[in-house]
């Protein structure tokens, strides 16, 4: 399968009074056609900024993409004009936002919000767009779609709004869907429903998906491949199975160990990662995770470890001690 999206050495910075924040720091990854890729990490590690960079919606003038390439279907998105980029957004790459409660415009009807993209991107007439909107609402499992079209977002529950967001994202049949924490604001039972729906629809419609999340449970079930991000860099990448079974970076291991499990004895303690994520304006010269790392050696504080292959299947890790971790059981 060819690469649909290829991010190469992307650098996105924010200029603040405290200094330059390298939110995304020389990061490369890719998404193959029809594949579901996860971007995992804690808050502030650069996951969302990565997605916004792809859409070229990093809030200026403070935020800027300073380097790298974002190849989508072979074209560099960073080289496109604003006008060309507008045809990519929503039409070829759609985005699902984190907050279903505030991501829909409260004064526009559901029907209007669904048909607007169809009318502007696909040049559909009013009536065909309306029919497609009914079809889309049905597709995402909203009952009685005809009646729902005339309603407003406040008449929808959180889960329904997220379904509506998915319907909006799917409207123009995009090749790639960026889902930024799509289920974080929802309650757990609804989370599962929404994720199943997204997985099912992306498979049926052949759309590739990038799921941005801090929830490893989500990753395990729905992603084909996983990129683990820490302090603006990718520290480990591999298939979801590999990452779970044989993590080769202490940060990934830490994340896995801090998730509660049903098959452990009730009294087992969770092992949180000590310390705080680093200040992105003042990163240590070596590995950014070193201060919090239990496997730290002298070299970690001085040299940034490169991302190197640690096993087959494209499993890479940025850790000097990756070999030592091979013996440590993951999950």
């Amino acid at each position: 399968m060819g690469s649909l999206l290829e991010v190469r050495s992307l650098v996105t910075q924010f200029v603040t009074r405290g200094g330059v924040v390298r939110a995304v720091d020389d990061v490369s990854w890719d998404v193959a056609e029809g594949e579901t890729v996860a971007l995992v990490g804690e808050s502030g590690c650069g996951k969302s900024v990565s997605a916004l960079s792809i859409m070229r919606l990093v809030a200026g003038p403070a935020g800027r993409i300073v380097g790298g390439e974002i190849l989508f279907k072979g074209r560099d998105l960073l080289g496109l004009s604003e006008e060309e980029m507008r045809h990519v957004r929503g039409r070829e790459i759609a985005m699902i936002f984190q907050e279903p409660m505030t991501s829909l415009n409260p004064v526009l009807s559901i029907g209007r919000q669904l048909t607007e993209g169809l009318e502007t991107h696909l040049g559909m007439g009013r009536e065909p767009a309306r029919r497609r909107a009914v079809e889309l609402l049905g597709l995402v499992g909203i009952p009685d779609p005809e009646r729902r079209l005339a309603q407003y977002p406040h008449q929808f529950s959180g889960g329904m709004r997220q379904r509506m967001m998915i319907a909006m994202a799917l409207a123009c049949d995009p090749a790639l869907i960026l889902a930024d924490e799509p289920t974080t604001a929802l309650d757990v039972t609804i989370q599962a429903q929404i994720l199943e729906l997204m997985k099912d629809l992306s498979r049926r419609l052949g759309a590739a998906m990038l799921i941005i999340t801090h929830n490893l449970g989500v990753v395990a079930r729905y992603a084909d491949r996983v990129n683990v991000m820490y302090a603006g860099k990718i520290v480990e990448r591999g298939t979801a199975r590999e990452i779970y079974a044989t993590p080769r970076h202490p940060y990934t291991l830490g994340l896995l160990r801090s998730v509660p499990r049903l098959d452990e004895p009730e009294r087992a303690r969770l092992a949180p990662i000590d310390g705080q994520p680093p200040d992105l304006t003042r990163l240590p010269p070596g590995c950014a995770f070193a201060p919090r790392c239990a496997f730290r050696v002298e070299r970690c504080a001085a040299e940034v470890p490169p991302l190197v292959p640690v096993a087959g299947d494209g499993h890479v890790s940025a850790c000097w001690e990756a070999a030592r971790l091979a013996g440590v059981a993951g999950r």
């Binding site: 200026g60 936002f97 991501s103 415009n105 607007e116």
Partner: protein
């Protein structure tokens, strides 16, 4: 009884009411009687202006030298002026001028101001800075001085009069609308609209403007009163509507001053009409603000 009331409440909760406008209007009358009085006077003015030719047998510009300076009587309810023109007829037809100029100026002023305010908030940064500084320049002049200057430059006919009243209103509206648009700019649904690939114009007009409808409506009603007053003032100063057109400000001028003691009805009634109209619009506008504001905050 309690159960009945509860089921009634349930009925209300189940979807939107069948006639939301009628319900909203009834609610407004019950909670804000003063505002309702204002609204009633405004409505009355509208009806009078529309049906002017049915309400009075007199032609407002027809001169009748046989009935010059006649006091109020059965044939001329509010008397006549120095040219024998019926004061009531001129008042009634004058409401057309007042409402036409008032609505025209208030509508254009509030709308252009709203678009500028929302655009300024949406683009932010340098655009916002420049637009706001230009607005500040206009704001530094009092309403009437600016309007006077514009009429003096453009010359006085009706479209120019409306332009002259519109222009000083634009920055006043832009300022208020920008403030509420700034918070809307930060809402995720605006980012979502950008991510959906919509253009700037569409986002400003279709996604942000409807969200500032409440302050827009409040400003519109407030501007209506101001615009009517401004039109009367300019006409009074001789820079607004010209004779022989019926206009309230015009009726206060010229002969009305000369005969103020001999024929006070010439000045009293148009003066009352201006005060009542402005008062009614302001009452209505204030109540509208109170009615719309809590919703604004909870959004």
């Amino acid at each position: 009884m309690a159960i009945e009331r509860a089921t009634e409440r349930l009925g209300e909760l189940d979807g939107a009411p069948a006639r939301p406008w009628v319900d909203a209007a009834r609610d407004f009358v019950r909670r804000r009687p003063l505002g309702a009085v204002g609204a009633a006077v405004v409505l009355l003015m509208l009806v009078v202006a529309l049906l002017a030719n049915l309400l009075t047998p007199y032609n407002p510009v027809a001169v009748d030298f046989a009935a010059m300076l006649a006091p109020p009587s059965a044939s001329h309810w509010l008397g006549t002026d120095a040219f024998g023109r019926d004061v009531l007829a001129r008042l009634i037809y004058g409401s057309r001028t007042a409402l036409f100029v008032g609505f025209g100026a208030a509508f254009f002023g509030a709308t252009v101001g709203a678009v500028l305010g929302v655009g300024s908030a949406y683009f932010g940064g340098r655009v916002d800075l420049y637009v706001q500084r230009v607005m500040d320049v206009f704001l530094s002049f009092p309403l009437i001085i600016l309007a006077l200057a514009i009429v003096a430059i453009l010359g006085n006919n009706l479209p120019n009069l409306i332009t002259a009243i519109t222009i000083p209103m634009i920055p006043r509206c832009a300022l208020v609308i920008r403030a509420s648009a700034l918070s809307i700019r930060e809402m995720p649904y605006i980012d979502a609209a950008r991510a959906a690939g919509f253009g700037h114009g569409r986002i400003i007009l279709r996604h942000m403007l409807p969200n500032v409808m409440a302050p827009y409506l409040i400003l519109l009603t407030a501007f209506l009163g101001q615009a009517i007053l401004l039109e009367a003032s300019l006409s009074f100063l001789g820079l607004g509507v010209q004779e022989p057109t019926a206009a309230w400000g015009l009726m206060l001028r010229g002969a009305a001053v000369e005969f103020a003691e001999a024929a006070p009805w010439m000045a009293i009634f148009p003066g009352l009409a201006i005060s009542l109209a402005v008062f009614a619009f302001n009452l209505f506008g204030d109540s509208l603000r109170d009615a719309l504001d809590p919703r604004l905050r909870t959004q």
